[in-house]
Symmetry: C2
Subunit: 186 residues, 2 copies
């Protein structure tokens, strides 16, 4: 099989998905490249469009991944724009929004796999949990929401988990395993 390219500017995402794929003997190559995303697009639309355009352009099979977080109390905000929101209002803004509210939220990860000239195929994972009232391990460098999200049934923030633990339960882990199963059966 051709080496699979993962187009992302996010080193954490690369590490997580790479860790799963290598258990299936699938070699992943990091292509650190930004692509445009339409503000009105869902995670599915974003990843599908980007994968198609990039696979046709590069002439190689590749994946892109898009993640969203959905707050039950706010009409699924921030949805597909988690980075925009955390960069704008920060942890403090999120805590203000959720004070005395239902703190239920879920993450969703959509991986789009595309071969040149073909249609993209989507692999989706989700994880439910609660948004915390404080920032856990603020000094650890990690993706922002991992400091304030506790997956159901775990009792700890994502940032406190090992890569193994996180990948076993996370939205991105689930999507990556579905991708790996598909590629092995192909």
């Amino acid at each position: 099989m051709d080496k699979l390219i993962f187009v992302t500017t996010n080193k954490y995402k690369f590490k997580e998905i790479n860790d799963i794929l290598k258990k299936y003997d699938i070699e992943l190559e990091h292509f650190d490249h930004e692509y445009s995303e339409a503000k009105e697009d869902s995670l599915e639309e974003v990843s599908k469009k980007a994968a198609k355009i990039l696979a046709d352009k590069l002439g190689k099979p590749l994946i892109v991944e898009d993640t969203g977080i959905f707050f039950k109390s706010y009409n699924n905000f921030p949805g597909a724009l988690p980075k925009f929101v955390i960069n704008g209002i920060g942890f403090e803004g999120i805590f203000r929004l959720l004070k005395d509210k239902d703190r239920t939220a879920y993450f969703k990860s959509v991986i789009a796999y595309c071969q040149p000239g073909q249609k993209p195929i989507l692999f989706i994972g989700e994880i439910s949990g609660k948004i915390l009232k404080e920032v856990i391990e603020p000094d650890i460098e990690a993706m922002p929401y991992t400091h304030i999200f506790v997956p159901d049934g775990t009792g700890k923030a994502v940032v406190q988990m090992t890569l193994e633990e996180k990948n076993a339960i996370s939205h991105r882990g689930e999507a990556a395993r579905k991708l790996a199963e598909y590629l092995k059966l192909k």
Copy 2:
């Protein structure tokens, strides 16, 4: 002069800009059409790209307009994505964010004018003010932020102004007058 097309799905914006342009004897035609906007783009980039693509496609001179609102207390959030934010967190969410904070904010309007085959030209207007602590005239149908924004020196919410009053001071009015002056001198 050719009739000028305004591409927008927003009837309020059409009404405001049309009201100004007709004072300069410039005829505006409403083309109710959606176009894609990249989530990472500024107001300037959004309007410039859309105007260029649409003018070349339609083969006619046209304008598009993009508006943002910038909160001093939150790193200029929501910026170019005001609709996404109000749809997600509503007035309640905005009030939560600004409780006991500096409520200074400004609106910015960018009108891009483009002739087929040419580069777009930008006209920009701004207005500063404060975000209120309650929703004024909630039953009047108007653009959402007009219910909670008081321009400096006016003492009233935008929604309480006549079209004349609003256009005389607003970000969009300023941008539209700059456009009109340009078109008259051309």
